[in-house]
Amino acid sequence: MTMLALFQPGLYHLLAVSIALLTAGVAVILTKRNAVGILMGVELILNAAGLNFVAFNRYVWANAVDGQMFTLFIIVLAAAEAAVALAIFLNFYNNFDTINVDQADELQG
């Protein structure tokens, strides 16, 4: 208990979580071939960014709530982005009968 009590999570701990989320998001985007999976990766990266904002707000600039505001907008944007992206995926699926992004190479050079 004492050890745990001595362990006080601070800014760096939260940033570490954020880095983990970001790298996970990048890895998801790079590995998944399912478009919805890629969308999930994007959500992870957005969450990492939100976490960063909140953490810095909490530990570095506690006099205001600007960081939290930005996180709020990020959430709104994420929702909007998810809606649009899914609409695009539906269209794509209707046209190509697949959701594999590797087959969406019509714009190939």
Binding site: Q8, Y59, A62
Partner: protein, 180 residues
């Protein structure tokens, strides 16, 4: 630091458990995030994403951003994720279809991710950050302040976001409509 976060005797117990909670939420977040990377099943991935989002919400809560935590749960977990699940079901004849990625792809991805993480850790280590005290947090980080700020300093972005949502609603409905 977390001890001073919740002032007063009632929060002492919370302060006592705060490191535990941090560890638990952080672990949930990171583990389920990496499970998304590893998992090959899109439905499971959605499930892991739910956990990740919940973990992040918990971390928000621990940082005394209670409103954000609630929003994270409501909008993200309750809205966006459901949307994604719907997307999964609508775009797949078989929801359990596997779109297997190559091994070398995964290696590249993990390598790139690790490199990125490493670089950022180095960057973080090299960046001096001047931390402030936590007294202000108790006074300032309540929903009241948030609301005032949102409707004064951030009024224009707020309105723009509202318009954006409207546009997205129309646009998404238009794009996803059934064609005659």
């Amino acid at each position: 630091m977390f001890t001073t976060l919740a002032a007063g005797t009632e929060t002492d117990s919370l302060a006592q458990v705060a490191p535990f909670l941090y560890l638990i939420f952080a672990a949930i977040t990171i583990l389920s995030a990496w499970m998304i990377v590893i998992s090959q099943n899109i439905v499971r991935m959605a499930m892991y994403l739910l956990f990740t989002l919940g973990g992040v919400a918990g971390l928000y809560f621990l940082m005394s951003a209670e409103f954000l935590a609630a929003i994270q749960l409501i909008v993200y977990a309750g809205g966006t994720l459901i949307l994604i699940v719907f997307g999964v079901m609508l775009t797949s004849k078989n929801p359990f279809i596997r779109l297997q990625s190559m091994l070398w792809e995964r290696c590249v991805a993990i390598g790139l991710g690790l490199l990125l993480a490493m670089l950022m850790i180095i960057a973080l280590a090299n960046t001096p950050i001047k931390q402030t005290g936590t007294e202000a947090v108790a006074q300032n980080h309540d929903i009241h302040t948030l609301a005032i700020t949102m409707l004064s300093k951030y009024l224009v972005p707020f309105e723009v976001a509202a318009v954006l949502l409207l546009v997205v609603m129309i646009g998404a409905a238009f794009m996803a409509r059934r064609r005659a």
